[in-house]
Amino acid sequence: MKDFDYEVVVVGSGAGGAMAAYTLAKAGHKVLMLEAGRDYDPKTETPMFKTNGQAPLMGAGNIDKDFGFYDATVDGGWQVPNEPYTTGDTSDFMWWRARMLGGRTNHWGRYSLRFSEHDFKGKTRDGLGADWPFEYEELAPWYDKTETLVGICGTNTGLDDMPDSAEGVLQPPPKARIPELLVSAAAKKLGIATAPMHRAVLTRPKDDRQACFYATPCGHGCSIGAAFQTTTSLLPMAKATGNLKIITDAMVRSVDVDEKGQANALTYVDKKTGKDIKLAAKVIILAASACESARLLLNSKNTHHPNGLANSSGQVGRNLMDSTGTGVGAHIPALEGRPIYNEDGHTANHLFIPWWGHKQHAKGELDFPRGYHFEIGSGFRAPGSGVSGNLQGYGKELKDQAKQYYGAGVYLALRGEMLPNEHCYMEIDDKVTDKWGIPVAKFHWKWADHELKQVEHGLKTARKILETMGATFTRPLPSADKAILKGGQIIHEVGSTRMGESPKDSVTNQHGQTWDCKNVFVMDAGVFASNPHKNCTLTIMTLAMRNATWLAKQLNKGAL
């Protein structure tokens, strides 16, 4: 990179890294990006229109491809070969990683809900967790800019958990499908509203990306750019400015410092040769994912930073949060044998159930502090390795049953907010290293009563909604501690380098700038002070845009 006079090095090419790089490149700053995975081009690598029947094992998932054969994730999943992680003795934690350009944006659910005013000041309200160092109002215009750039379909609902976007920002959402309309009617009877899900899926063309044509699951990736991933949008757009260069297969080992303890370089492993390469760096943005960035800081120990870089607070790796997750599914007799039509849509739920309990919380009517939402799973899905229903017999009778059951199942998936607690954190395992000799992350996890009570409430509510739709349950609901998914399993891990008002209890300031090293920033979900139930990616990008804009101004002023 001798011929490229970069000012900023960005580690990671996913939601945060790509938005930071795009923002800086657009502002005229030269950026060098390091990505641990291989190069990846959705235009040529996405299995568009491929059927499960064309895949091994009818597309079923396994340890090689956890979310199915066609899942866009490359060289990753719950395990990355030769790059292990460990857990504490009594802890269950699952860590999803991708080793590819664009990171996890290539396969994410594209759910893009704004955090609301409640979400930034939870501690002020109920004394739990941590406040963010700003209010919703501060982020609102940045959400507008991010949503406009990314392309989000949805509507302004006026619901208290769904702040409105500015006029003209959102693209029209697709029409709801039959099972979703039934859920909507049942929820309404119980006093619960449904709303169009906001998704980073274009329903109108934008720049050189096409509008969705309502086929082939977004999780496979999207060669036409309708479903947002950085590899079809921010990265090529940033590269087109001439201000971004990307090195793939570059696994960063450490952030290095000069004799005064000032960060001035990075060392990465060139995976193709196995050699270490030291790269001078004026400004460093870590956006390697919450836990990779924290791991990198903790591994960047030196005499000036004996507990790891930017860790004078001891908070790096702490405050680790995921979303709570569980779900209840049911067969809905009323949906049996219903008229068939194409229900692919944008391949995720068109309607969902936003959190409806803010008023109940304010009145102290709930025995858990934070909210959740339900995503609706339903529809005439493409055939795959599973067939639903309690099927009996054989022959025509059997096939007729399967057809009768087709499209008659409804699943309500809960995604909820958890609070940070002292038992949920990551550290460095001093006994285990990865293939490159880099000490690995070790996770500790324990759900608190807050989460279990929330899940219990969610299970009961989901069952009530499904019963209102005519479902019958022969078995009692599982207990919350059995039903709750494992830590990390929802892949919304955040908080490990949280931002705050004070260097005593946070790692970065409100701009993602580490308190200890003015030229080291974190722009992934590590900086989240809390983990609202609304899926983290939109807010990662919004913060990265805001904070990279601030950084660009600092660079212009010569402040760094």
Partner: protein, 251 residues
């Protein structure tokens, strides 16, 4: 199109195969024809205990198979998704096993007018690929499915003194009728096989519906690009919705 060839008591599943592959098959056939046991793959031993058979009454026999694990590699974490691997791992079912799978698959999903049977759309090959895969779930299904196959032959021998595939269709259905329904008054000797058979049934159905003909038969209408906005439910679907909303008192 694959089919079951049934000539003079010699029943055999024939896959959709090239001439080159068919030569290979002939080789395999001559090699396996002499194998006495249905479970002919390496290290597989049937130790079915049928000692407690008295006359026609059969008390819960279940084969105790010891299968050596499949240790070949999977397709890895970065397979081409544009051209998925056609044969990601060697298939392991013997001709006899495959034939029995085919007979069962066609009992489960027989030809239905213009709609082909399971075997006609190569379901046995999908089952073979499935049980031969090196992954945990598939290896667990492999034990289950190979056990079902042995159980069926043991049962056929006990009842009719012949293997399952050469029984008459009526004889085959006599056995299948006893194992294809989960009911409250299920005789004890059938509880295990009914459970295992139920899993096999779903695998066969899934493989059938995953074929282009099966997908069409199921009625799935997606995976086609739509120009313009997503049209949403048809009028007919909305009429049906309004009807059920009325019935459920949700209007």
């Amino acid at each position: 199109m694959a089919k079951i060839i049934n000539e003079k008591n010699d029943v055999q599943y024939k896959s959709t195969i090239t001439r080159r592959e068919s030569l290979k098959w002939l080789g395999i056939l001559s090699a396996t024809a002499l194998l006495p046991s249905l479970v002919g793959c390496e290290g597989s031993v049937s130790t079915t205990n049928i000692a407690n058979v008295v006359g026609d009454s059969i008390k819960g026999h279940w084969p105790d198979l010891t299968l050596s694990p499949i240790t070949v590699k999977g397709y890895g974490k970065d397979p081409s998704m544009i051209i998925p691997p056609k044969s990601p791992w060697p298939k392991t079912l013997t001709v006899e096993q495959l034939t029995l799978v085919a007979v069962l698959a066609d009992i489960l999903v027989p030809r239905d007018g213009d709609v082909p049977s399971a075997t006609e759309v190569n379901v046995p090959d999908v089952v073979d690929e499935w049980v031969s895969a090196p992954y945990e779930r598939q290896q667990s299904d492999r034990l289950s499915i190979l056990s079902i196959l042995v159980w069926l032959n043991d049962e056929a021998k006990l009842r009719f003194s012949r293997t399952f595939t050469v029984l008459s269709p009526a004889e085959q259905l006599k056995i299948i009728d006893d194992i294809a329904y989960q009911k409250d008054d299920l005789a004890e000797e059938y509880t295990r096989i009914v459970l295992e058979f139920s899993r096999f049934r779903k695998l066969v159905l899934a493989a059938f519906f995953c074929s282009p003909e099966g997908t069409k038969d199921l009625g799935y209408l997606g995976n086609v690009p739509i120009a313009g906005d997503y049209p949403g439910p048809t009028d007919e679907a909305m009429v049906h919705l309004n009807q059920i909303l009325n019935e459920l008192d949700l209007v």
